[in-house]
């Protein structure tokens, strides 16, 4: 059946499935990419760092409900078919993304703003929980048996391309509108734009046919009557769900979200890079690394899935700390001071009275540029005390622009991290599809995938940022979370996973 599908048809199947999945990832990621700005819009102006952590918590909430989406829509997919289920998830995702773009700010409706965004974010998470498993299953069930890794790896590129698209649209919108307008209302544009993208994708998906394996199963009357019970109440299958989670998807999730999300958050919030610079670095890294999803997917058809995925985890465990230490060192004030000064311009001092009405804070920004094009803004905040005079605190740097060689060095380091993502993520759709039988495949593969990625992976920015904020922690302390989880998954995967390739998934 799937073996005789002409080559141009399989690419039509991949194209139609991938476009929708890509748009769902785009919808899901714009929230994370705009976390700092959204935090200012949703919470009180004096919330400070907790606004970012709470926004990341809302971002994480979308990930946490993904396993529930996997159960709800996975069950539907095994009952009524793959095609209609992932049409439904697309509509839910597009609608909720569009509505996030319309939510008034905290200034207008108070705490109703973060609550409404949280609800919409939960719907986004549920929809994504149903989408991916359907798309991966759909493509795998069309693919020839000896090239499943290659064909499903195209679906795997969509997550990273969705991030690429979201970053690109954000940067373009910001450059057109200007930084101030973008922070004020322009951040809504990428959310509102989603409705157009989703409309196009729905049109394409409406023309798709049901998966041949599911159709065959339906004609033979072998469709599962209760996919949840068959998946999780059956020890032989449930033990494979647990193995997939702890031996593969858990480690894969943290490697993925460290390389793509924590890296961006770290460059922007810890290293204090300029908004555009941090995004350009990620965009280049993604552009160079994305083809490797297909390379590793195809390679896994020849050598098996296991060792490619586990090698990606091992390299992450070894190299994360040196990479992030380099990020910190190369963006330090001492490192910038090695450059030749071009200009230094001071802005106006801003005086803010303190609550005691006697003392006040004086904030002064100085823009420093170097001859090699790099620069930063130094923020000096002094306390003007009526009784003790002027108390100076050490200045902080922000909006750092890197010298070109350092910029490309950072692109290389991000590229390497995303290369690890392609190793763990490229072969995993084929790995999961081959682990479970057709009649409960959608449900069974979706749950471990979304716990691994949604919960373990999605929580990386939130938990790592939280860990780095503990008393006595260093900026690198947050990395112990992805390193620890990846190490646990590596041990379990090495010992318990087999390197088999299931030749036939037509069961």
């Amino acid at each position: 059946m799937s073996e005789i599908l002409p080559k141009n048809n399989i690419f039509k199947v991949i194209g139609a499935s991938s476009l929708g999945t890509l748009i769902e990832w785009y919808d899901f990621y714009i929230f994370g990419s705009l976390a700092v700005i959204i935090g200012h819009q949703l919470f009180p102006a004096d919330a400070g760092a907790s606004a970012l952590i709470n926004t990341l918590a809302i971002f994480a909430a979308g990930f946490i409900v993904r396993p529930f989406g996997a159960l709800v829509f996975g069950r539907l997919g095994d009952l009524i078919g793959r095609k209609y289920t992932f049409l439904l998830t697309l509509v839910l995702m597009g609608g909720s993304t569009f509505l996030i773009g319309l939510i008034p700010s905290y200034k207008t409706i108070g705490y109703a703003a973060p609550i409404l965004v949280l609800i919409l974010r939960l719907i986004q998470g549920l929809a994504l929980g149903g989408e991916y498993g359907g798309a991966a299953t759909y493509v795998a069930e069309h693919a020839p048996k000896n090239r499943r890794g290659f064909f499903t790896s195209w679906i795997q590129t969509t997550a990273t391309l969705g991030l690429f698209l979201s970053l690109g649209i954000i940067v373009i919108t910001k450059n057109i509108l200007g930084a101030e307008t973008f922070s004020d209302w322009g951040w809504r544009v990428p959310f509102l734009l989603s409705i157009v993208l989703v409309g196009v994708s729905i049109y394409i998906r409406m023309k798709m046919h049901e998966s041949p394996m599911f159709t065959k199963l339906k004609l033979e009357g072998k469709v599962s009557k209760n996919p949840l019970k068959d998946s999780f109440n059956n020890k032989a299958n449930f033990k494979m769900v647990l193995l997939a989670l702890f031996g593969a998807t858990m480690g894969q999730g943290v490697i993925w979200y460290t390389g793509q999300f924590y890296a961006q958050s770290f460059l922007e919030n810890t290293c204090k890079l300029d908004f555009n610079d941090s995004r350009y670095i990620l965009l280049w890294g993604i552009a160079f690394a994305t083809p490797f999803f297909v390379v590793f997917g195809a390679w896994s058809d020849k050598v098996g899935r296991k060792w490619i995925m586990l090698t990606g985890m091992l390299l992450g465990i070894i190299f994360y700390r040196p990479i992030y230490k380099t990020f910190l060192n190369d963006t330090s004030e001492e490192n910038f001071a090695k450059n030749e000064l071009f200009s230094s311009s001071q802005g106006f001092a801003v005086i803010t009275p303190l609550a005691n009405q006697v003392d006040s804070l004086r904030s002064l920004e100085t823009k420093i540029l170097f001859t090699n094009g790099s620069g930063y803004t130094k923020v000096q905040i002094d306390t003007i005390s009526a009784s003790r005079g002027i108390l100076s605190a050490p200045g902080t740097l922000k909006d750092k622009i890197l010298p070109k060689p350092v910029f490309w060095k950072f692109v290389g380091l991000i590229f390497f991290q995303i290369l690890l993502v392609t190793m763990v993520y490229g072969p995993i759709a084929a790995f999961l599809v081959e682990l479970f039988p057709t009649k409960i495949r959608y449900t069974s593969m979706s749950l471990p995938y979304h716990i691994g990625n949604g919960v373990f992976g999605g929580l990386v920015p939130f938990i790592a940022t939280l860990m780095a904020s503990f008393e006595g922690a260093t900026p690198l302390s947050g990395l112990w979370y992805p390193i620890g989880i990846a190490a646990l998954s590596l041990v379990i995967g090495t010992i318990y996973l087999s390197n088999k390739k299931d030749e036939s998934i037509n069961d």
Binding site: S50, K239, F246, P437, R441, F462, E471, K500
Partner: protein, 90 residues
């Protein structure tokens, strides 16, 4: 390495996974109490309770899953992986 040796390691490590589930939860609970205690203001306390509440709520069922995985490993359920996925079926 011999298959019997690998199976023995799989079984023994199963005890470790069974223990790791509750140990991880106790560690997280102690951390949560510690961090909530360190909060200075009322709003900071509310935020910390919310953040750690989320973490405990999420990782509790996963730690149970790890215990079940350990139990299966200890019982020898992973000694031989099925060669084709249809063997997972009832």
């Amino acid at each position: 390495m011999k298959a019997s040796m690998i199976n023995y390691i799989k079984k023994i490590l199963g005890l470790g996974w069974m223990a790791l589930g509750p140990i991880a939860m106790i560690f997280l609970f102690i951390q949560a109490v510690d961090k909530v205690g360190l909060a200075h203001s009322e709003i900071e306390k509310t935020n910390t309770i919310l953040q750690w509440g989320i973490i405990l709520f999420i990782f509790f069922p996963i730690s149970i899953g790890l215990m079940i995985f350990g139990f299966y490993a200890w019982k020898g359920e992973y000694e031989q992986s099925p060669e084709v996925s249809e063997n997972n079926e009832l």
